[in-house]
């Protein structure tokens, strides 16, 4: 029974902005946790700089009664720890938005570029933090009270959230933060935001417990569950979280993580582990993938399994390290010297990150090839609520791995035996009788170096043939939306969320659209070029300047004439409305003709 007159909180978008180090992310994280506990699904995003303190940064949250893996174009609430942050994000506000800002240094000036109608609430956050706790950073906790009151959390809920968040930091930290929360409540009272007088009523229809997880975490978790037992890496934004999760967890699975001195060492340590028969992964992004190119070719030639995560960031070169991009697609698909088999998988959400990592581990081991997990900063680092993963669905396929008994029954063991699939059975080092030579030089079936041209031809064919034999096991695209729709989207990674919302927004306007969600980029499976022939108005949505994904599809027989490009490479995540606008303008529709 809903007899409240307040707006139903089914879609709340909050941005918390300030100087780097102001703790915007902390505020958003606590808020995400509270709202998730209330049954809403949440999604959070960050806009940070490649520096540790200072500069204008923000964290954004969306709480939605259902799944939404992107932020809306309409921000309901902005919290600004620094007034200088307001103009940077003001364009995302509208007449109904509310802005809470730190008024310690005075009231807001006119330069803040705010739209008409915005409701402003100045609170001297920093002043009270310093006054009461001698540390500016407590403004976070103070602000939280104001936010909570505003959106209608009760003080008890906020306290529970603080217990959860700060409890593990020790009693004193908890106490100070709770005190700060109290200070905030008082300031909220002053600002007229009293208990129970929140602006919204939270409406949630899904009461099950969700995981709150990033793509990077889901890849790491998937790897551990899939039996991954060795990880070597070198820190690089935005992939580092994969290593950090594994540092904490992999030992509990019986595995080991080694931070290497560079990416060359990382991939070669991983090779060292992989050749013992251990499931192995490394994670990096553009600059690191570039450095690993020689190692990747070695995997292809020497037939060594490995999963390699590319959490793509804005390139080229060092680029914009904290910003998203999808501009390594070419490098993943075409990189490496010489011809060798490889697989590139592209999940669209954290759950898929988990499941495709399991697939990646299986394919890598079974076919003894490198398998890339093609992510991007958004998918890698943004958090989303996910239905608890069904662990019992995980299937491990170790391919032709031989134990001592199996080896002993063979007449002859050849490390690179020619087979129908292209992959040879493998006896891990330590197995009596299974000795073999593994090498990145061309070799015969035993692994002895050979330049015999007949052998060469057979070995090239063996390796290339894997690309054919594995095809039936590779993830096909998923088609979302109305299959007969004339408008189709293609996009991977962080495009997933905006495309799905765009389809909904278009539907509201009476325009039917569908989403052909490619999941295997290499080898390009037949369903994707086929889709481009079937659907007359396709929008390939991607984060790069040269339409790498669209060109990849076209190079594999995709219908160029049906394809339009939506490209973004300025480091800013797209919003669903951007796609809607593109579709409408491309189809020469006026906004008011539709809907």
């Amino acid at each position: 029974m809903n007899n409240s007159t307040k707006p139903r909180l089914e879609d709340l978008n909050v941005i918390v902005a300030g100087q780097g180090g102001d703790g915007s992310l902390t505020v958003v994280n606590i808020l995400a946790d509270v709202l998730r506990t209330s049954g809403l699904r949440v999604y959070t995003e960050r806009d940070v700089l490649s520096r540790i303190k200072g500069g204008i940064t923000a964290a954004t949250l969306r709480a939605y009664n259902g799944e939404r893996l992107c932020i809306s174009s309409h921000i309901d609430l902005m919290v600004a720890f620094d007034q200088a942050a307001i103009p940077k994000y003001a364009f995302r506000l509208n007449a109904k938005s509310i802005v809470i800002y730190d008024s310690s240094n005075g009231e807001l000036t006119a330069e803040s570029k705010l739209p008409e109608g915005v409701r402003l609430i100045g609170v001297p956050l920093s002043r009270y933090a310093v006054k009461n706790f001698r540390r500016d950073i407590y403004k976070n906790s103070i602000s939280f009270a104001v936010i909570g009151r505003l959106i209608g959390l009760d003080d008890g809920q906020m306290k529970i959230a603080f217990d959860k968040r700060f409890g593990r930091r020790g009693a004193q930290a908890l106490k100070y933060n709770l005190d700060a929360l109290n200070v905030g409540c008082t300031l909220a009272d002053d600002a007229g935001l009293t208990i129970g007088e929140g602006l919204f009523e939270i409406v949630a229809t899904d009461s099950k417990a969700h995981m709150l997880i990033t793509g990077n975490e889901a890849v790491a978790f998937g790897f551990a569950v899939a039996g991954g037992r060795f990880f070597a890496g070198y820190p690089i934004t935005p992939s580092t979280d994969v290593m950090e999760w594994l540092v904490k967890w992999l030992p509990k699975f019986g595995g080991v993580v080694k931070q290497a001195e560079d990416e060359l060492s990382a991939i070669n340590m991983a090779i060292g582990a992989a050749i013992t028969g251990t499931r192995t992964m490394t994670a990096t992004c553009g600059p690191g993938i570039a450095l690993m190119q020689e190692g990747i070719g070695q995997l292809g030639m020497a037939e060594i399994p490995m999963v390699i995560v590319d959490a793509q960031r804005s390139g080229p070169s060092t680029g914009m390290p904290t910003k998203p991009e999808q501009s390594d697609i070419n490098l993943l698909c075409y990189g490496g010297a010489g011809d060798f088999p490889r697989v590139v998988l592209a999940p669209g959400n954290p759950a898929e990150c988990f499941h495709l990592t399991v697939t990646a581990c299986n394919i890598a081991e079974k076919y003894q090839v490198p398998v890339f997990m093609c992510l991007d900063q958004g998918l890698s680092q943004n958090t989303a609520t996910v239905d608890p993963i069904d662990l019992s669905s995980v299937v491990i396929d170790r391919g032709g791995r031989l134990d001592a008994e199996q080896v002993s029954k063979l007449e002859v063991y050849k490390r690179y035996l020619h087979t129908d699939s292209g992959a040879s059975d493998f006896a891990p080092p330590g197995t009596p009788g299974g000795m073999g030579l593994v090498t990145g030089n061309e070799h015969d079936e035993f692994g002895l170096v050979s330049t015999d041209p007949i052998n060469r031809n057979k070995m090239v064919a063996k390796r290339q043939h894997k690309m054919v034999s594995m095809k039936p096991e590779l993830p096909l695209a998923i088609n979302h939306g109305v299959e007969t729709a004339d408008i189709g989207f293609i996009g991977v990674g962080m495009c997933y969320g905006v495309i799905l919302e765009a389809i909904d927004l278009l539907a509201q306007k009476g325009i039917l659209a569908q989403y052909h969600q490619v999941r295997t980029l290499w080898p390009m499976l037949d369903d994707t070029p086929a889709f481009t022939k079937r659907c007359p108005n396709i929008f390939v949505v991607e984060y790069n300047a040269t339409a790498q994904l669209a060109k990849l599809i076209i190079a594999h027989g995709g219908e160029e004439e049906n394809i339009n490009n939506i490209l973004r490479y300025d480091g800013i995540p797209m919003q669903a409305q951007d796609l809607v606008n593109s579709v409408i303008s491309k189809l020469n529709l006026k906004e008011d003709e539709v809907a």
């Binding site: 709150l212 070597a232 080694k258 020689e294 080896v407 030579l437």
Partner: protein
């Protein structure tokens, strides 16, 4: 018995120092009764980098310069293997120089044998990092990798042999393998191994080698004293041979692995422990 590859005949030039290294390694592995299937021999790229093809073992031919990260990974994944890295001076000190520093620092339980001939044999005789000033227009001062090893606080076993003195070479190979087998961590053995084709140093080296094993009062457990002696001998243009330094530190794998589990390579991962650790991890995301 399952048949597998027959070790091939070395492809080295007649007289190449690397024959002696192969001989010593084979003898030492046999003397220590390490069966072929427990040997993991990892070789770099270069003339030296074909040694693994010439004995019974699990062999791996790395990328140029990557022997040490590879063996570190192999040992961590399966510490039950006897892991031996071999390669050349170009491989180990030029392109692989950074890894050498970090391997000493990590002290993984591997033996690393460098066949130092002061040149890039396989690419036809360019100066390597141990080539003296003047060799092939080399303008740089040559590196002494043993001194480099001494300067890395994590290093635990540093020795040098000469393939022209096979008895000591065998002794030091044995000592290196034992240091590692006993949990001492990385054993590093540089072998002066002349390249008869591009840098025939037999004549030079025969007279300039100097055996610290035979020197009275030489104390291989004193890092600073060893360094001083190396420096002196260098100034005298002598090439020190012998066990130059032996220190104590835990091997990397002894502290890096979770002892509640078998080695990573040996775990049965076929069925994930979904009610145990997998679920714990899952719950940590629900919080």
């Amino acid at each position: 018995m399952t048949k597998t590859f027959t070790p091939s005949r070395p492809i080295w030039c007649a007289g190449c120092g690397d024959f002696g290294v192969l001989q010593a390694l084979v003898s030492a592995l046999e003397e220590l009764k390490i069966p072929p299937h427990e040997r993991m021999v990892v070789a770099g790229i270069g003339c030296s980098g074909s040694l693994q093809n010439n004995l019974s073992c699990y062999g791996y031919h790395t990328l140029h310069g990557r022997v040490l990260p590879t063996v570190t990974g192999s040992k961590l994944a399966n510490p039950e293997l006897t892991v031996v890295g071999v390669g050349g001076d170009g491989d180990g000190y030029a392109i692989g120089g950074g890894h050498l520093v970090h391997a000493f620092k990590r002290n993984p339980g591997v033996t690393y044998i460098v066949m130092n001939n002061g040149t890039y044999g396989l690419t036809k005789g360019q100066a390597s990092p141990t080539a003296p000033t003047g060799y092939q227009d080399n303008l740089e001062e040559d590196l002494d990798p043993v001194m480099l090893g001494l300067s890395i606080p994590g290093s635990t076993f540093l020795a040098r042999a000469y393939s022209g003195q096979p008895a000591q070479l065998l002794d030091l190979t044995l000592a290196a393998l034992k240091h590692t087998a006993e949990g001492g961590g990385m054993s590093y053995l540089e072998v002066l191994s002349p390249c008869v084709t591009y840098n025939d140093t037999y004549r030079d080296w025969r007279t300039s080698v100097y055996d610290v094993d035979a020197e009275e009062g030489y104390d291989p457990t004193n890092r600073a004293a060893a360094f001083t002696r190396m420096q002196e001998l260098r100034e005298e243009k002598r090439l020190p041979l012998g066990l130059i330094f032996k220190g104590q530190r835990h091997a990397l794998e002894s502290v890096a692995l979770n002892k509640d589990f078998p080695a990573p390579a040996l775990q049965d991962i076929g069925r994930p422990d979904i009610s145990g650790v997998c679920n714990d991890a899952l719950q940590s995301f629900i919080r």
